[in-house]
């Protein structure tokens, strides 16, 4: 992989605008495989999560970072990983990602995962925090609240959560809890209270009520911070077709002119997400999570679809790494190789010139995120 665009992206420290903590404890084979699969954890099936595009990519691209040959078998890979220990493994992969800023979703992390501070140190990067609003809501329920007080209690808790130093964005998993086919209107507090009553009567827990999700999304608008929204594939509890970001169109129209919205993952709806980014000023997209799952070999095809009509100021980078630190290295590698391959070919075909291609690379790799999150102000 060569060319000037690739060199630029290799040298460029990425802004990873959505990620999670990495595992700090030892990982045996079932433990590691359980974190490899997105939803698929099938002990006893004889099927290994290593036998996936992601598994091939780990053995190909991560093994050399642990001083192993390319394509090292899984057993040997895990043995070496255990020998080095989690701290050293995490440090290597996080450094390999070559990231300057990490926006860490602290609302979801595997047991014993790194804090943002630990992550920042291992990566030699600045860490910011992203507040997951469903986690805030569930905590409000868990500590006890009257249904009528819930609308205001959630708003207050969210405001308090984002006032903590280092918080740069909020996030919702509405796509996975209810899907995006929601009534776009802001629900009146009485309706929210009634929904909260039903939810709390069942002991609270996992928030998956459409009225409560709408309340949460509109609260995000009031908070004024950028809102990250998962779209497309991701958690195992989703219904993929309900996570098509096009379903959010009416809500985006109603909230135009308020907060930046960042569509995460998007696959296989990256074209739909790109359309929204082309039409709505506030909408941005990334193909995080997708990148390490499809691997460097296929990242370019997905990025090409994401960039078919999207404005170049709207594509961001995120790893959505969570658990094994490998995902940090793989996401960054797939992004750099995929985007560089795509842009370099445009230059080679004289469809654009190198100056523009380099600018697009820097925008997507770092500067778009700096603009959206106003990092010149806070970091």
């Amino acid at each position: 992989m060569g060319g000037a665009v690739h060199e630029e992206l290799t040298a460029l420290p990425l802004v990873d605008h959505h990620c999670h903590g990495v595992t700090t404890g030892p990982l045996d084979r079932p433990g590691f495989e359980g974190l490899l699969g997105e939803g698929g954890r099938w002990p006893g099936s004889g099927l290994s999560p290593f036998d996936t595009p992601l598994g091939l990519a780990v053995r190909r691209h991560c093994a050399p970072l642990l001083d192993l040959p390319r394509h090292t078998p899984a057993e040997e890979y895990l043995a070496r990983r255990a020998d080095l220990g989690a701290a050293e493994v995490n440090r290597r992969f996080l450094r390999a990602a070559h990231t300057s800023v990490l926006c860490v979703d602290t609302g979801y992390a595997p047991a014993g995962a790194t804090s943002p501070g630990q992550l920042a140190q291992a990566a030699d990067a600045v860490a910011h925090e992203v507040v997951r609003l469903e986690t805030v809501a569930e905590a409000v329920a868990a500590r006890g609240v009257e249904p009528d007080a819930y609308p205001e209690a959630f708003r207050a808790a969210a405001e308090e959560a984002v006032r903590r130093p280092g918080v740069v964005a909020v996030k919702s998993v509405a796509a996975y809890r209810t899907g995006f086919a929601l009534d776009p209107a802001r629900p009146p507090d009485a309706e929210v209270a009634a929904a909260a009553r039903r939810w709390l009567a069942h002991g609270g827990g996992r928030l998956a009520d459409p009225v409560l999700e709408r309340h949460l999304l509109w609260a995000a608008v009031d908070l004024g911070l950028p809102l990250q929204l998962h779209a497309g594939f991701g958690d195992a509890d989703l219904r993929l077709h309900r996570a098509d970001p096009a379903l959010l169109t009416d809500w985006l129209r109603l909230t135009a002119g308020t907060i930046p919205v960042l569509l995460l993952h998007c696959w296989p709806y990256q074209r739909q997400a790109a359309y929204l980014a082309a039409v709505f000023e506030q909408v941005h997209l990334d193909v995080g999570l997708t990148l390490h799952h499809v691997g460097p070999a296929r990242a370019r095809a997905v990025l090409a679809e994401a960039l078919e009509i999207a404005p170049f100021r709207k594509l961001l980078y995120s790893s959505d790494a969570c658990g094994p630190a490998e995902f940090y290295a793989l996401g960054a590698l797939a992004f750099r190789q995929g985007l560089a391959g795509l842009l370099q070919d445009l230059v080679d075909a004289d469809e654009t010139d190198l100056r523009d291609a380099l600018r697009i690379a820097r925008w997507a790799g770092a500067e778009n995120a700096r603009r959206v999150y106003r990092f010149s102000d806070v970091s």
Copy 2:
């Protein structure tokens, strides 16, 4: 870009079966940028519509047609454009498109746009007219009609509109007004009158009622002319997922054996459109509008999906150019390069022979449209 298929397509005058007028007045930077973005017009955002695949394509492929170097910066491009004046600019781009026939949608055009006649002259082509049925309906409402008289008044107005010389087709933007998930049955006049009553009580205006749209689509069947239907992305007021042409299946089944239906744009549902074209005799498709938005660099990928299963007699060319004459040149270029690249590779891989490849190129570029619109009869 070389090869026999490319030569054939370069020499072939295209039939552009769906397009609009071009701007005749001067365009300053905000004015030009406002016409570049599909929906996205974000003054003050610091985001320029030039920073898109379309913007790169303008600077790469249109600049030389204005005697500028490739990749000319936007400012210089617009300065040169202003120096030459709209008439010369339009003439250059329209000639570059090398089109023999233009089917001009006169129901929507930017202020001060060319008439079909002016367009024909600038392009050295024959211009026909496409009647936009929503515009007809809105005109019926605007000049005053009793709700009970609306069903018949609309039919009469549509019949009168298509009786004008040069009209070869009608068009509906149902995809953007209500989406395609409509009850497929022909609505009884009483139901149409009731819907008209609600519409007219609010002063008429933008037609977006599902019953009135159904009435309009069935009126198109009665008119007997080919019906152009936008599908997929396009106007800024749409909900993308409702413009999936697959949603129209039941209506297409009910109206099989009547009028030709031409699905326009289709992106990102070009595969769905191709499926319909494969299953229904009356259905055809193009990837107009898409072509200049994705640019020549990506047109081939989109065309490849559109042609995965589609009969070769079902793909047509349209630019859907509207506003800047650049879109005429870019649409034609992207179509020629994309289709030629795709077909030439098939020939080079011996998946087809050159004779068949050239035939497919001529069909898609001109002959399929001539057959559907019976141009041997009317032009």
Copy 3:
């Protein structure tokens, strides 16, 4: 087409886990063309099903198997086909497919099609049988049943059908009859009886009732055999968007841990199918039918999407050939060329090593099917 992966796949006898009988009688041009088009049969239109990617592939890849030059015109192709006779033609194409096992859906076949035994002999393969459950249900209705007795009568008939020797799976066309957006819960017998009453009151016939389809799908769970489910494009009576396999998510969640589910065709939702295969242990996919329709030239692109995130143990091969024996040869060729091209490029780019690539090829071509259908036990 060269390389070690291609050699491996060429040498590997495929397991074709879903196919149909082939025509045994003579086929004139209208007859052959009628079987070429998927739904599109347009006599008198002047449009020939030969003018499709499938038609090009027949003339390119099947002609040489009848001792004709590549790209032979349709007339000469059909004349030679008639001269050789159906038996010889079928034998040539079935042998060219180089298949060791055929799982034949006996619930749908063109008039005068081969039996599984005849197919096995012509192909020099072992034939198993797949029971189409809608056919079983329709037969129960046809021979007369009281609505209240229907739920049990269908279950008994299905159990009897699968107890016949050689039956290895059941199949449902729910995607085409009702679509997948069904209530996922098992319907109580009283509800099934009520639906049967409505159905039988109209004389039974084509089963397309959502409650009866749910009953059928849950009966499949009780039968314990692998369940084949069409998804995406296929029969002409479908509504494509309702055949998106993502719509089946809730049912797959409810039935996890029971029977293997095999999503057939999937196009254009191969990414959605791959997602389900990644998330649910029991879900597998193929791109059968798609392969011969898009042809060898485009099979790789479709397979690449199907394999973007899918576990390599989840992709199977099927031809879904039905009618002309050409489809057996073309499906196998497109699968071998597409998968080999894709894997060989991964090897050449050092994204995987040859050993892994060969293993993936064997899995997809044969071993995944052997595992799912437990062929070591029954064949």
